[in-house]
Assembly symmetry: C2
Homo-oligomer: 363 residues x 2
Amino acid sequence: MPDAVSRPTLEAVAARAGVSRATVSRVVNGGSGVREPLAERVRRAVEELGYVPNQAARSLVTKRHDAVAVVIAEPETRVFTDPFFALQLRGISKELTAHDNQLVLLLTEGRDDHTRVARYLAGGHVDGALVFSLHLDDPLPRLIHDAGVPTVFGGRPGWRDGTGPAVYVDCDNRGGARTAVRHLAALGRTRIAHLTGALDQTSAVDRLDGYRDVMAETPGGADPALVVESDFTPAGGEGAMRELLARRPDVDAVFAANDLSALGALRVLRERGLRVPQDVAVVGFDDMLPLAEQSDPPLTTVRQDIERMGRLMARLLLDGAATRPAARGAAARAGADGGDGGRPDAPPSGVILPTTLIRRASA
Amino acid sequence: MPDAVSRPTLEAVAARAGVSRATVSRVVNGGSGVREPLAERVRRAVEELGYVPNQAARSLVTKRHDAVAVVIAEPETRVFTDPFFALQLRGISKELTAHDNQLVLLLTEGRDDHTRVARYLAGGHVDGALVFSLHLDDPLPRLIHDAGVPTVFGGRPGWRDGTGPAVYVDCDNRGGARTAVRHLAALGRTRIAHLTGALDQTSAVDRLDGYRDVMAETPGGADPALVVESDFTPAGGEGAMRELLARRPDVDAVFAANDLSALGALRVLRERGLRVPQDVAVVGFDDMLPLAEQSDPPLTTVRQDIERMGRLMARLLLDGAATRPAARGAAARAGADGGDGGRPDAPPSGVILPTTLIRRASA
DNA sequence: TTGAAAGCGCTAACAG
DNA sequence: CTGTTAGCGCTTTCAA
């Protein structure tokens, strides 16, 4: 790749405006404390030369980057085809942009990439990290922790080593699952099955727990045969649904761990000639639009505001909630950034967003 | 946001190893020209201190960043919910990673963000840019051009100002469209309609041209009523399909500009009780999986290898194909990066990837 | 081979 | 208010 064209430096601007570098720097960084005529001369020089500050030089001295890394662990190949990440990224991007921060996307395709990511984070490119899609045995959180970068996690982290409390944003997976199953029960269904998500992720575990909470207090009680392990994908949902029908042909309701797998289940049901919701009622999770709305039949599901989760993660990071015990003193900056945050509350270690049941035709 | 914890510097490593900074630098950057015992001492010191080079400092002197920006213009809100970008990003990410480059994602939510992006690019954060989703009237390419950063475009750029030839990667939109329409004609369909994409994008225009190419040589000739303008979205496809049925209830085939809009069309067809393909044959474009495969009926479509396009874009950039006339001399680096590129061919200004017709049930 | 020294472009005291 | 002066942490001549 060719070197970028050499651009004018502060020095050049200073020379052109007939002032010192310091003065130019002041003008460029907000201009306070510089008399107007001078400032104007500087601005003109900046304009004429097309000067743009060199960020590397700036970061070197300020130790700030106005950039945040988003780390998406991608053990399978499932990341970007899942609209979930897309939405979260949108939220993050919006919030970051509003605070003049850049989003640096770090995708990890496998174990090999973990060290690369850790190196990047430790390399002082970014002021913080937003980390997603963690699996229980993931070595990434440790590496990231060691990189010494403030971090907010997307989804409750599931590790149990001594990495200490992590700041994270999640939705009320357990509560949402309860709502879904209760809805099914209220419909008079008695043989309510659950197609789980990938059980190495806490979201799947929590939803399963929620399902069990309700089933335990149900007349029939919990039947293990009604729980089929799956993996959040449409294909997984199909497979699990087939397995379920083999085990319990009399099933009359299905709570799928997410909309994608619910869609898979719907397909199998249709192909078997089972009517939804008459024969089998189906509830999903996520309210992934437009999928959930346009499925056949439209999917009743538990909505979580994914984009908002993303925004919140970014805000927590910028507000300094992710500060590790050692280093303090950032709330001021977040406030000065013109944001709406900056309240020096005690940093929460986990923020749980509510869920709502969206009733459509499938249950 | 809190400052990152202070990390050890080259200086510290040098002190610990009892050598000069220069020696440490040499070891860290490949170690050639340093006698083994010394090098070993340095490596141990690096290890013990957990030293990671500060990239800002490094870039300041090398003027290289090993980072590439991906710019996605998002005039509408349609970017991340479209699997298209996801796939392209995957390809880009893979290629970049293989060459130890970082991907920096720049999302623009609207006009305001354009200057921000231009500033970022000019700010010397990245060695090059990959730019997408351009619309005909987009001011972004000009801004990016002025930022003086080597750039590869995704999709044939459509502007006509004097910005000079651009390097881009695209699929054979026109040829693919021809194939699709010929297939429909070969099926004996005579009233073949086209639901266009957003016509401010060259891909939509090219596909429309391909459709017209074939229709022109068809017995009936081209009937303008059979062309309905749409926008690449499922909702747009629905609307266009309704409009089409209003105009020409006798339509017996539809070529949709992409799979997403084809899905919309399919839905309207089903709702009107028209059978696909018996009454109306439908062909899409993209072969967006798993959507195209799992639609009802499965969609016959024109496949383009989107992920490969992404990979190719990244490779072209890294190989220095995007060098602007002024600055030369990067092929060596790309080769030394351990890549498979680096052949000093004349830089192509456009690379067109082939398309294939994938026959499924819808036509 | 190794080290000393000179910056890369910028900000941030500190004087004036 | 403005300029002068140190560096930020690193690479890279240039000598030794």
